[in-house]
Subunit: 176 residues, 2 copies
C-alpha cells in the first residue's frame, strides 16, 4: 500500500512522465558522448603538452560552432517539446473560459497528433456537452414557465384541468 501510494505520487501520468525521462536521458547521453568524443579527439590528435601555446585555433572555432549547434538543437527541441504540453493546457483553458461565457466548440475537441495528454479530450468534451445541455434545458424550462405565465395572464388558460395538463407537460418535457 505504501509503495503504491508513493508510485502514484511520483508517476501520475506514466506514459508522459516515462517518455519525458527517456528523452531526457537520451539527449543528455547524446551531449555527453559528443563532448567525450570531442575531448578525446582534441587530446589524442591536437593537444601537445610540449607546446606552451596551442596553434590549432581552428579547432576551438569548430568546437564553439559545435557547442552553439547543440545549444540551438536543444533550444529547438525544448520549444517543440514544451509546446506539445503547453498547447493542450492553453486549449483547455480557452475552452473552459468560452464555456463560462456560453460559447461552445462546434464539434468534439481535438488536440494535435503529437500533443501529450490527448486523453484529456473525452472528459473535456463530456463536461462541455454537459454544460451545454444543462444550459439549454434551463433556458427551455424558463421559456416554458414564462409562456405559461403569459397564457394565464391573458386568460387563455383558465380551467384548472387545462392548467394542470399544461404544467404536467412542462414537467415531463423538462425531465427528458
Amino acid at each position: 500500500m505504501k509503495a503504491k501510494t508513493l508510485r502514484r505520487r511520483c508517476l501520475v501520468d506514466k506514459s508522459y512522465q516515462l517518455s519525458f525521462c527517456l528523452v531526457l536521458l537520451l539527449s543528455h547521453g547524446f551531449v555527453a558522448l559528443l563532448i567525450g568524443f570531442w575531448a578525446s579527439w582534441y587530446y589524442l590528435f591536437f593537444f601537445d603538452r610540449r607546446l606552451v601555446h596551442n596553434h590549432n585555433e581552428t579547432f576551438w572555432l569548430y568546437g564553439l560552432a559545435g557547442v552553439l549547434l547543440v545549444l540551438l538543437l536543444v533550444l529547438f527541441w525544448g520549444v517543440r517539446q514544451s509546446h506539445r504540453v503547453a498547447g493542450v493546457v492553453v486549449r483547455v483553458n480557452k475552452e473552459l473560459e468560452n464555456a463560462g461565457r456560453g460559447v461552445f466548440p462546434p464539434g468534439p475537441v481535438c488536440f494535435r497528433q503529437r500533443d501529450y495528454f490527448k486523453w484529456l479530450a473525452p472528459s473535456l468534451d463530456a463536461t462541455l456537452k454537459h454544460v451545454q445541455r444543462e444550459g439549454a434545458k434551463l433556458t427551455t424550462l424558463r421559456l416554458q414557465v414564462a409562456g405559461l405565465e403569459a397564457r394565464l395572464a391573458t386568460g387563455e388558460l383558465q380551467k384548472p384541468e387545462e392548467v394542470l395538463n399544461e404544467v404536467q407537460r412542462i414537467r415531463q418535457s423538462s425531465e427528458n
Copy 2:
C-alpha cells in the same frame, strides 16, 4: 502580423516554455562541462600513450559511478519536472470528470506551489462554479414546477389569480 502568428504558435505559454528551455540548456551544459572536465582530467593525468594497456582501472570505475550518478540525477529531476506538469493535467481531468457526474470540490481548486500552469485554476474554478450553479437552478426550477403540479392536482390551488401568482413567483425566482 506574420511574425506575431509565428510567435504565438511557437510560444503559447512563454513562462513555462522559456523556463523549460532554460533548464534544459543549463542541464545539458552541466553534463557537457562535467564530461569535458572528466575527459581532460583523464587525458592530462592518466592517459599515457606510451602504454598499450592502461592500468588505472579505478579511473573507469569512478567514471562509471559518475555517469550513473548523473543519469540518476537526470531521472530524478525528470520525474519531478514532469510531475509538475502532469499533476495539473491529471487534476484538471479529475475535476472535469467529477463535474460531469455532479460532484464538485468544496472550495476553489488549488494546485501545488511548484506546479506549472497554475493560471489554469481560475478558469477551471469559474467553469465548475458555473456548472454547479446552473445545475442547482435547473433542479430548483424542476422541483418548483413539480410542486406546482402537485398543488394543482390536489386542488390546493384553484383560482386562476392564485395560479398566476404562483407561476409568476416561480418565473421570477428562476431568473435570479
